[in-house]
Amino acid sequence: MTGIVIYPQSALPGSSASLLTALQPAISQRTNVIAQGIQALQNGPLPSSARLDTRPDSTETPIHERLFDALAAAKVLTSRVAMHLTLEWRDKLFRQLDSLHDPEEWEEGDIPVQQASFMTFLKAMVAVNPTRRPGLGLSHAGNLIAAWTIGKDRLTIEFMLHDRVRWVISLHYDDDPVRYAGDVPVSRLNEGLAKHNPELWFHSGSENRQHP
Protein backbone atom coordinates (compact mmCIF):
# COMPACT_ATOMS: atom_id res chain seq x y z
CA MET A 1 0.00 0.00 0.00
CA THR A 2 1.31 3.40 -0.94
CA GLY A 3 -1.05 5.93 0.59
CA ILE A 4 -0.86 9.18 -1.31
CA VAL A 5 -0.75 12.39 0.67
CA ILE A 6 -2.32 15.17 -1.34
CA TYR A 7 -0.73 18.56 -1.74
CA PRO A 8 -2.17 21.27 -3.97
CA GLN A 9 -0.72 21.64 -7.46
CA SER A 10 0.68 18.13 -7.58
CA ALA A 11 1.16 17.09 -11.18
CA LEU A 12 2.25 14.13 -13.21
CA PRO A 13 6.00 14.09 -12.73
CA GLY A 14 8.43 13.87 -15.58
CA SER A 15 6.11 15.65 -17.99
CA SER A 16 8.27 18.69 -18.50
CA ALA A 17 10.11 18.71 -21.80
CA SER A 18 11.84 21.92 -20.76
CA LEU A 19 13.32 20.16 -17.72
CA LEU A 20 14.81 17.50 -19.98
CA THR A 21 16.21 20.18 -22.28
CA ALA A 22 17.67 22.09 -19.35
CA LEU A 23 19.38 19.00 -17.95
CA GLN A 24 20.65 17.75 -21.30
CA PRO A 25 24.15 19.25 -21.13
CA ALA A 26 24.65 17.98 -17.60
CA ILE A 27 23.97 14.30 -18.21
CA SER A 28 25.69 11.67 -20.30
CA GLN A 29 24.74 10.83 -23.86
CA ARG A 30 23.53 7.39 -22.80
CA THR A 31 21.32 8.86 -20.06
CA ASN A 32 19.99 11.39 -22.56
CA VAL A 33 18.95 8.53 -24.84
CA ILE A 34 17.09 6.90 -21.94
CA ALA A 35 15.46 10.22 -21.00
CA GLN A 36 14.35 10.78 -24.59
CA GLY A 37 12.94 7.25 -24.66
CA ILE A 38 10.90 7.98 -21.54
CA GLN A 39 9.64 11.20 -23.07
CA ALA A 40 8.63 9.36 -26.24
CA LEU A 41 6.29 7.22 -24.16
CA GLN A 42 4.20 10.21 -23.22
CA ASN A 43 1.10 10.74 -25.25
CA GLY A 44 0.74 14.04 -27.09
CA PRO A 45 -1.44 17.00 -26.18
CA LEU A 46 -5.18 16.42 -26.12
CA PRO A 47 -7.61 18.11 -28.54
CA SER A 48 -9.33 19.79 -25.61
CA SER A 49 -6.06 21.49 -24.72
CA ALA A 50 -6.00 23.39 -28.04
CA ARG A 51 -6.22 26.88 -26.62
CA LEU A 52 -9.52 28.70 -26.70
CA ASP A 53 -8.36 31.75 -24.81
CA THR A 54 -6.00 33.12 -27.42
CA ARG A 55 -7.69 36.49 -27.36
CA PRO A 56 -6.56 38.90 -24.66
CA ASP A 57 -9.17 39.38 -21.95
CA SER A 58 -9.23 43.12 -22.31
CA THR A 59 -11.96 45.66 -22.82
CA GLU A 60 -10.66 46.15 -26.37
CA THR A 61 -11.81 42.66 -27.32
CA PRO A 62 -15.35 42.81 -28.74
CA ILE A 63 -17.86 41.94 -26.05
CA HIS A 64 -19.45 39.06 -27.97
CA GLU A 65 -16.02 37.42 -28.25
CA ARG A 66 -15.31 37.88 -24.55
CA LEU A 67 -18.69 36.39 -23.70
CA PHE A 68 -18.11 33.45 -26.03
CA ASP A 69 -14.66 32.79 -24.56
CA ALA A 70 -15.98 32.88 -20.99
CA LEU A 71 -18.93 30.61 -21.81
CA ALA A 72 -16.79 28.13 -23.76
CA ALA A 73 -14.23 27.97 -20.93
CA ALA A 74 -17.00 27.39 -18.35
CA LYS A 75 -18.49 24.57 -20.43
CA VAL A 76 -15.12 22.89 -20.92
CA LEU A 77 -14.52 23.17 -17.15
CA THR A 78 -17.92 21.56 -16.57
CA SER A 79 -16.83 18.61 -18.70
CA ARG A 80 -14.14 17.92 -16.08
CA VAL A 81 -16.80 16.99 -13.53
CA ALA A 82 -19.65 16.07 -15.88
CA MET A 83 -19.54 12.44 -14.79
CA HIS A 84 -20.63 13.60 -11.32
CA LEU A 85 -23.57 15.70 -12.59
CA THR A 86 -26.87 14.54 -14.03
CA LEU A 87 -27.46 15.39 -17.69
CA GLU A 88 -30.59 17.29 -16.65
CA TRP A 89 -28.62 19.52 -14.31
CA ARG A 90 -25.79 20.04 -16.76
CA ASP A 91 -28.26 21.14 -19.44
CA LYS A 92 -30.02 23.49 -17.03
CA LEU A 93 -26.70 24.93 -15.88
CA PHE A 94 -25.69 25.62 -19.49
CA ARG A 95 -29.03 27.35 -20.17
CA GLN A 96 -28.48 29.53 -17.09
CA LEU A 97 -24.93 30.38 -18.18
CA ASP A 98 -26.11 31.20 -21.72
CA SER A 99 -28.79 33.46 -20.29
CA LEU A 100 -26.34 35.20 -17.93
CA HIS A 101 -24.04 35.93 -20.91
CA ASP A 102 -26.68 36.98 -23.42
CA PRO A 103 -24.98 39.69 -25.56
CA GLU A 104 -28.34 41.44 -26.00
CA GLU A 105 -28.71 41.91 -22.25
CA TRP A 106 -25.05 42.52 -21.43
CA GLU A 107 -24.15 45.81 -19.79
CA GLU A 108 -20.94 47.61 -20.63
CA GLY A 109 -18.38 47.23 -17.82
CA ASP A 110 -19.70 43.91 -16.50
CA ILE A 111 -17.21 41.04 -16.30
CA PRO A 112 -18.08 37.55 -17.64
CA VAL A 113 -17.80 34.58 -15.28
CA GLN A 114 -14.24 34.02 -14.09
CA GLN A 115 -12.89 30.50 -14.62
CA ALA A 116 -11.50 30.25 -11.07
CA SER A 117 -14.86 31.26 -9.59
CA PHE A 118 -16.69 28.79 -11.79
CA MET A 119 -14.32 25.99 -10.77
CA THR A 120 -15.05 26.79 -7.10
CA PHE A 121 -18.77 26.62 -7.92
CA LEU A 122 -18.40 23.20 -9.57
CA LYS A 123 -16.43 21.86 -6.60
CA ALA A 124 -19.12 23.06 -4.21
CA MET A 125 -21.98 21.67 -6.28
CA VAL A 126 -20.42 18.22 -6.63
CA ALA A 127 -19.74 18.18 -2.87
CA VAL A 128 -23.20 19.43 -1.84
CA ASN A 129 -25.08 17.72 -4.69
CA PRO A 130 -28.24 19.84 -4.28
CA THR A 131 -31.47 18.44 -5.68
CA ARG A 132 -32.91 21.98 -5.55
CA ARG A 133 -31.08 23.84 -8.34
CA PRO A 134 -30.05 27.39 -7.46
CA GLY A 135 -30.73 30.60 -9.34
CA LEU A 136 -27.47 32.04 -10.69
CA GLY A 137 -26.07 35.54 -11.01
CA LEU A 138 -22.75 37.33 -11.42
CA SER A 139 -20.95 39.78 -9.18
CA HIS A 140 -19.28 42.88 -10.62
CA ALA A 141 -15.96 41.00 -10.38
CA GLY A 142 -17.26 38.10 -12.47
CA ASN A 143 -17.75 35.76 -9.52
CA LEU A 144 -20.65 33.35 -9.83
CA ILE A 145 -23.41 33.78 -7.24
CA ALA A 146 -25.95 31.05 -6.45
CA ALA A 147 -29.17 31.64 -4.51
CA TRP A 148 -31.71 29.30 -2.94
CA THR A 149 -35.00 30.93 -1.90
CA ILE A 150 -37.74 29.67 0.40
CA GLY A 151 -40.54 32.20 0.78
CA LYS A 152 -38.90 35.44 1.92
CA ASP A 153 -35.79 33.62 3.18
CA ARG A 154 -32.69 33.21 1.10
CA LEU A 155 -29.28 31.49 1.08
CA THR A 156 -26.78 33.26 -1.17
CA ILE A 157 -23.30 31.89 -1.92
CA GLU A 158 -20.62 33.78 -3.82
CA PHE A 159 -17.94 31.55 -5.32
CA MET A 160 -14.59 33.29 -5.05
CA LEU A 161 -11.15 32.62 -6.50
CA HIS A 162 -8.74 30.26 -4.76
CA ASP A 163 -11.48 27.83 -3.67
CA ARG A 164 -13.16 30.18 -1.20
CA VAL A 165 -16.88 30.81 -0.72
CA ARG A 166 -18.84 33.56 1.03
CA TRP A 167 -22.34 32.76 2.14
CA VAL A 168 -25.17 34.82 3.60
CA ILE A 169 -28.44 33.51 5.00
CA SER A 170 -31.31 35.99 5.33
CA LEU A 171 -34.21 34.81 7.50
CA HIS A 172 -37.39 36.59 8.52
CA TYR A 173 -39.00 36.06 11.91
CA ASP A 174 -42.35 37.83 11.80
CA ASP A 175 -40.84 40.37 9.40
CA ASP A 176 -37.88 40.80 11.70
CA PRO A 177 -34.84 40.13 9.45
CA VAL A 178 -31.89 38.11 10.78
CA ARG A 179 -28.65 37.48 8.91
CA TYR A 180 -25.93 34.87 9.26
CA ALA A 181 -22.77 34.95 7.16
CA GLY A 182 -19.56 32.97 6.61
CA ASP A 183 -16.36 33.03 4.58
CA VAL A 184 -14.78 29.58 4.30
CA PRO A 185 -12.76 27.35 1.96
CA VAL A 186 -15.07 25.43 -0.34
CA SER A 187 -13.99 22.22 1.40
CA ARG A 188 -15.62 23.57 4.60
CA LEU A 189 -18.88 24.80 3.07
CA ASN A 190 -20.91 21.90 4.43
CA GLU A 191 -19.37 22.45 7.86
CA GLY A 192 -20.08 26.20 7.71
CA LEU A 193 -23.73 25.70 6.85
CA ALA A 194 -24.28 22.77 9.22
CA LYS A 195 -26.07 24.90 11.85
CA HIS A 196 -28.39 26.41 9.27
CA ASN A 197 -30.33 23.42 8.06
CA PRO A 198 -28.57 22.78 4.73
CA GLU A 199 -30.92 19.89 3.98
CA LEU A 200 -33.78 22.37 3.77
CA TRP A 201 -32.00 24.75 1.39
CA PHE A 202 -30.40 22.16 -0.85
CA HIS A 203 -32.95 19.37 -0.90
CA SER A 204 -36.40 19.58 0.67
CA GLY A 205 -37.14 23.32 0.29
CA SER A 206 -40.39 23.19 2.23
CA GLU A 207 -42.39 26.39 2.57
CA ASN A 208 -43.09 25.38 6.21
CA ARG A 209 -39.51 25.99 7.16
CA GLN A 210 -38.34 25.51 10.73
CA HIS A 211 -35.95 28.32 11.63
CA PRO A 212 -32.56 27.12 12.87
Binding site: M1, T2, G3, I4, V5, I6, Y7, P8, Q9, S10, A11, L12, P13, G14, S15, I38, L41, Q42, N43, L46, P47, S48, A50, R51, L52, T54, F68, A72, K75, V76, S79, R80, V81, A82, M83, H84, L85, L87, R90, F94, M119, L122, K123, A124, V126, A127, V186, S187
Partner: protein, 247 residues
Protein backbone atom coordinates in the same frame (compact mmCIF):
# COMPACT_ATOMS: atom_id res chain seq x y z
CA UNK B 1 -19.82 -6.36 -24.77
CA UNK B 2 -18.18 -4.15 -22.17
CA UNK B 3 -20.19 -2.84 -19.24
CA UNK B 4 -21.46 0.72 -19.61
CA UNK B 5 -20.80 2.50 -16.32
CA UNK B 6 -23.24 5.05 -14.95
CA UNK B 7 -20.37 7.26 -13.85
CA UNK B 8 -17.76 6.45 -16.49
CA UNK B 9 -14.47 8.18 -15.61
CA UNK B 10 -13.74 9.10 -19.24
CA UNK B 11 -12.74 12.76 -19.48
CA UNK B 12 -11.82 12.67 -23.16
CA UNK B 13 -12.19 10.15 -25.98
CA UNK B 14 -10.29 10.67 -29.21
CA UNK B 15 -10.12 9.05 -32.65
CA UNK B 16 -7.24 10.31 -34.77
CA UNK B 17 -6.29 9.65 -38.40
CA UNK B 18 -2.88 10.83 -39.66
CA UNK B 19 -1.85 11.36 -43.27
CA UNK B 20 1.36 11.23 -45.25
CA UNK B 21 0.48 14.26 -47.38
CA UNK B 22 -1.00 17.49 -46.00
CA UNK B 23 -4.42 18.78 -47.01
CA UNK B 24 -4.36 22.14 -48.77
CA UNK B 25 -5.38 25.28 -46.89
CA UNK B 26 -8.34 26.04 -49.19
CA UNK B 27 -9.71 22.51 -48.73
CA UNK B 28 -9.48 22.88 -44.96
CA UNK B 29 -11.40 26.15 -45.16
CA UNK B 30 -14.06 24.55 -47.36
CA UNK B 31 -14.58 21.56 -45.10
CA UNK B 32 -14.87 23.89 -42.09
CA UNK B 33 -17.70 25.68 -43.86
CA UNK B 34 -19.41 22.34 -44.53
CA UNK B 35 -19.20 21.55 -40.81
CA UNK B 36 -20.79 24.89 -39.90
CA UNK B 37 -24.16 23.44 -38.90
CA UNK B 38 -22.87 20.62 -36.68
CA UNK B 39 -20.02 22.64 -35.20
CA UNK B 40 -21.13 26.28 -34.99
CA UNK B 41 -18.05 27.41 -33.07
CA UNK B 42 -14.88 27.47 -35.17
CA UNK B 43 -11.46 28.87 -34.29
CA UNK B 44 -8.25 28.94 -36.29
CA UNK B 45 -5.20 27.33 -34.69
CA UNK B 46 -1.56 27.91 -35.51
CA UNK B 47 1.19 25.49 -34.52
CA UNK B 48 4.78 26.69 -34.70
CA UNK B 49 7.60 24.17 -34.74
CA UNK B 50 10.90 25.97 -34.18
CA UNK B 51 14.21 24.14 -34.55
CA UNK B 52 17.50 25.86 -33.73
CA UNK B 53 20.68 24.11 -34.84
CA UNK B 54 23.86 25.25 -33.09
CA UNK B 55 27.37 24.43 -34.31
CA UNK B 56 29.37 22.08 -32.06
CA UNK B 57 31.58 23.70 -29.37
CA UNK B 58 34.85 25.14 -30.74
CA UNK B 59 33.50 25.01 -34.31
CA UNK B 60 32.85 28.25 -36.11
CA UNK B 61 29.48 28.64 -37.69
CA UNK B 62 26.13 30.27 -37.38
CA UNK B 63 23.01 28.98 -35.73
CA UNK B 64 20.44 27.69 -38.20
CA UNK B 65 16.83 28.37 -37.33
CA UNK B 66 13.98 26.60 -39.03
CA UNK B 67 10.38 27.59 -38.40
CA UNK B 68 7.53 25.41 -39.63
CA UNK B 69 4.02 26.78 -39.32
CA UNK B 70 0.86 24.67 -39.60
CA UNK B 71 -2.60 26.19 -39.64
CA UNK B 72 -5.53 24.17 -38.36
CA UNK B 73 -9.08 24.62 -37.13
CA UNK B 74 -10.80 23.80 -33.84
CA UNK B 75 -14.51 23.18 -34.30
CA UNK B 76 -16.87 22.63 -31.39
CA UNK B 77 -20.50 22.03 -30.54
CA UNK B 78 -22.63 24.50 -28.58
CA UNK B 79 -22.02 22.61 -25.31
CA UNK B 80 -18.26 22.39 -26.10
CA UNK B 81 -18.26 18.64 -25.42
CA UNK B 82 -17.86 17.63 -29.08
CA UNK B 83 -14.62 18.81 -30.68
CA UNK B 84 -13.20 18.36 -34.16
CA UNK B 85 -9.58 19.27 -34.88
CA UNK B 86 -8.61 19.64 -38.51
CA UNK B 87 -4.91 19.99 -39.27
CA UNK B 88 -3.26 19.53 -42.65
CA UNK B 89 -1.91 16.14 -41.54
CA UNK B 90 -4.48 14.98 -39.00
CA UNK B 91 -8.22 14.49 -38.61
CA UNK B 92 -9.24 14.30 -34.94
CA UNK B 93 -12.66 13.64 -33.42
CA UNK B 94 -12.82 14.25 -29.67
CA UNK B 95 -15.54 13.86 -27.05
CA UNK B 96 -15.32 15.43 -23.60
CA UNK B 97 -17.38 14.18 -20.63
CA UNK B 98 -20.15 13.18 -20.45
CA UNK B 99 -19.16 10.28 -22.70
CA UNK B 100 -22.27 9.13 -24.60
CA UNK B 101 -21.00 5.59 -25.32
CA UNK B 102 -19.06 4.11 -28.22
CA UNK B 103 -22.00 3.78 -30.60
CA UNK B 104 -22.80 7.50 -30.45
CA UNK B 105 -19.13 8.53 -30.50
CA UNK B 106 -18.26 6.21 -33.38
CA UNK B 107 -21.40 7.32 -35.26
CA UNK B 108 -20.19 10.92 -35.03
CA UNK B 109 -16.76 9.87 -36.29
CA UNK B 110 -18.33 8.12 -39.32
CA UNK B 111 -20.52 11.13 -40.09
CA UNK B 112 -17.64 13.62 -39.88
CA UNK B 113 -15.19 11.33 -41.67
CA UNK B 114 -17.64 11.10 -44.57
CA UNK B 115 -17.87 14.91 -44.81
CA UNK B 116 -14.10 15.27 -44.51
CA UNK B 117 -13.35 12.71 -47.23
CA UNK B 118 -15.88 14.15 -49.64
CA UNK B 119 -13.97 17.44 -49.57
CA UNK B 120 -10.37 16.42 -48.96
CA UNK B 121 -10.41 13.18 -50.93
CA UNK B 122 -8.16 10.15 -50.50
CA UNK B 123 -4.73 10.60 -49.00
CA UNK B 124 -2.43 7.89 -47.73
CA UNK B 125 -3.10 7.14 -44.06
CA UNK B 126 -0.04 6.62 -41.86
CA UNK B 127 -1.62 6.15 -38.45
CA UNK B 128 -5.01 5.25 -36.97
CA UNK B 129 -5.34 5.74 -33.24
CA UNK B 130 -7.86 5.72 -30.41
CA UNK B 131 -7.12 7.40 -27.11
CA UNK B 132 -9.21 7.34 -23.95
CA UNK B 133 -8.25 9.54 -21.02
CA UNK B 134 -9.79 8.49 -17.73
CA UNK B 135 -9.62 10.28 -14.41
CA UNK B 136 -10.26 8.04 -11.44
CA UNK B 137 -11.57 10.14 -8.54
CA UNK B 138 -10.79 8.45 -5.25
CA UNK B 139 -12.31 9.56 -1.92
CA UNK B 140 -9.79 10.80 0.64
CA UNK B 141 -9.73 10.13 4.35
CA UNK B 142 -7.70 12.71 6.30
CA UNK B 143 -6.18 13.92 3.00
CA UNK B 144 -4.91 10.43 2.19
CA UNK B 145 -6.15 7.91 -0.34
CA UNK B 146 -5.06 4.47 -1.41
CA UNK B 147 -4.76 4.28 -5.17
CA UNK B 148 -4.21 0.52 -4.94
CA UNK B 149 -7.83 0.09 -3.84
CA UNK B 150 -8.95 1.36 -7.23
CA UNK B 151 -6.10 0.78 -9.66
CA UNK B 152 -3.86 -2.11 -10.60
CA UNK B 153 -1.35 0.23 -12.25
CA UNK B 154 0.72 2.23 -9.82
CA UNK B 155 4.27 2.88 -8.71
CA UNK B 156 5.63 0.05 -6.54
CA UNK B 157 8.01 1.50 -3.99
CA UNK B 158 9.70 0.30 -0.81
CA UNK B 159 7.46 0.86 2.21
CA UNK B 160 10.32 2.59 3.99
CA UNK B 161 9.85 5.57 1.66
CA UNK B 162 6.54 6.34 3.41
CA UNK B 163 3.67 8.27 1.84
CA UNK B 164 4.26 9.78 -1.60
CA UNK B 165 2.88 12.99 -3.08
CA UNK B 166 2.97 12.04 -6.72
CA UNK B 167 4.02 9.43 -9.21
CA UNK B 168 3.94 8.62 -12.90
CA UNK B 169 3.82 5.27 -14.66
CA UNK B 170 4.47 4.94 -18.37
CA UNK B 171 4.48 1.76 -20.39
CA UNK B 172 4.51 0.84 -24.05
CA UNK B 173 3.83 -2.59 -25.43
CA UNK B 174 4.95 -4.22 -28.69
CA UNK B 175 2.47 -4.31 -31.59
CA UNK B 176 -0.14 -7.06 -31.13
CA UNK B 177 -1.58 -9.40 -33.76
CA UNK B 178 -3.49 -6.47 -35.30
CA UNK B 179 -0.33 -4.39 -35.45
CA UNK B 180 -1.66 -2.07 -32.72
CA UNK B 181 0.54 -0.66 -30.01
CA UNK B 182 -0.75 0.30 -26.56
CA UNK B 183 0.84 3.22 -24.73
CA UNK B 184 -0.25 3.66 -21.13
CA UNK B 185 0.30 6.72 -18.96
CA UNK B 186 -0.90 6.95 -15.40
CA UNK B 187 -0.20 9.31 -12.56
CA UNK B 188 -1.51 11.71 -9.96
CA UNK B 189 -3.31 14.81 -11.24
CA UNK B 190 -4.91 17.70 -9.35
CA UNK B 191 -8.47 16.75 -8.46
CA UNK B 192 -11.35 19.05 -9.45
CA UNK B 193 -13.34 17.70 -6.49
CA UNK B 194 -13.35 18.44 -2.78
CA UNK B 195 -11.92 15.67 -0.57
CA UNK B 196 -10.91 13.45 -3.49
CA UNK B 197 -7.59 12.49 -5.01
CA UNK B 198 -7.44 11.85 -8.74
CA UNK B 199 -5.36 9.53 -10.85
CA UNK B 200 -5.07 9.79 -14.61
CA UNK B 201 -5.28 6.63 -16.72
CA UNK B 202 -4.48 7.49 -20.33
CA UNK B 203 -4.73 4.64 -22.85
CA UNK B 204 -3.58 5.20 -26.42
CA UNK B 205 -3.88 2.38 -28.94
CA UNK B 206 -2.67 3.01 -32.48
CA UNK B 207 -1.66 1.21 -35.62
CA UNK B 208 1.23 2.71 -37.58
CA UNK B 209 2.35 -0.36 -39.50
CA UNK B 210 0.38 -0.67 -42.76
CA UNK B 211 -2.81 0.96 -41.47
CA UNK B 212 -5.90 0.17 -43.57
CA UNK B 213 -6.84 2.67 -46.28
CA UNK B 214 -10.43 1.71 -47.12
CA UNK B 215 -13.30 2.99 -44.99
CA UNK B 216 -14.79 -0.42 -44.19
CA UNK B 217 -11.37 -1.72 -43.11
CA UNK B 218 -10.76 1.42 -41.03
CA UNK B 219 -14.10 0.95 -39.26
CA UNK B 220 -13.36 -2.72 -38.55
CA UNK B 221 -9.95 -1.78 -37.11
CA UNK B 222 -11.45 0.95 -34.92
CA UNK B 223 -13.97 -1.52 -33.52
CA UNK B 224 -11.17 -3.97 -32.71
CA UNK B 225 -9.18 -1.18 -31.06
CA UNK B 226 -12.22 -0.29 -29.02
CA UNK B 227 -12.41 -3.89 -27.73
CA UNK B 228 -8.70 -3.80 -26.86
CA UNK B 229 -9.15 -0.45 -25.11
CA UNK B 230 -12.00 -1.83 -22.99
CA UNK B 231 -9.96 -4.90 -22.07
CA UNK B 232 -6.95 -2.75 -21.13
CA UNK B 233 -9.11 -0.44 -19.00
CA UNK B 234 -10.77 -3.33 -17.15
CA UNK B 235 -7.36 -4.88 -16.51
CA UNK B 236 -6.16 -1.62 -14.95
CA UNK B 237 -8.98 -1.16 -12.39
CA UNK B 238 -10.20 -3.07 -9.34
CA UNK B 239 -13.66 -4.32 -8.38
CA UNK B 240 -13.89 -1.44 -5.90
CA UNK B 241 -13.44 1.02 -8.77
CA UNK B 242 -16.10 -0.79 -10.83
CA UNK B 243 -18.55 -0.46 -7.93
CA UNK B 244 -17.76 3.24 -7.66
CA UNK B 245 -18.41 3.80 -11.38
CA UNK B 246 -21.76 1.96 -11.15
CA UNK B 247 -23.18 4.19 -8.37
Amino acid sequence: MAERYKRAPITEAVIEIRYAEPAETDLLAKVCADFGTTYPFQHPLVNYDVTVGLPPPNVRGEAVTQINQATGHRLSSVDQAEILLLWPLTFVVSQLAPYPGWDVFFGRFQRDWDTWKRVVGYRKITRIGVRFVNRIDIPQVDRVFEETDYLRVYAKLPGSFGPITGYGVQAQFPPDDEGCRLTLNSGLVPSPLVDYGSVLLDLDIAREISPPQKDEDIFVLLDKIRTKKNAAFEACITDQAREFFRK
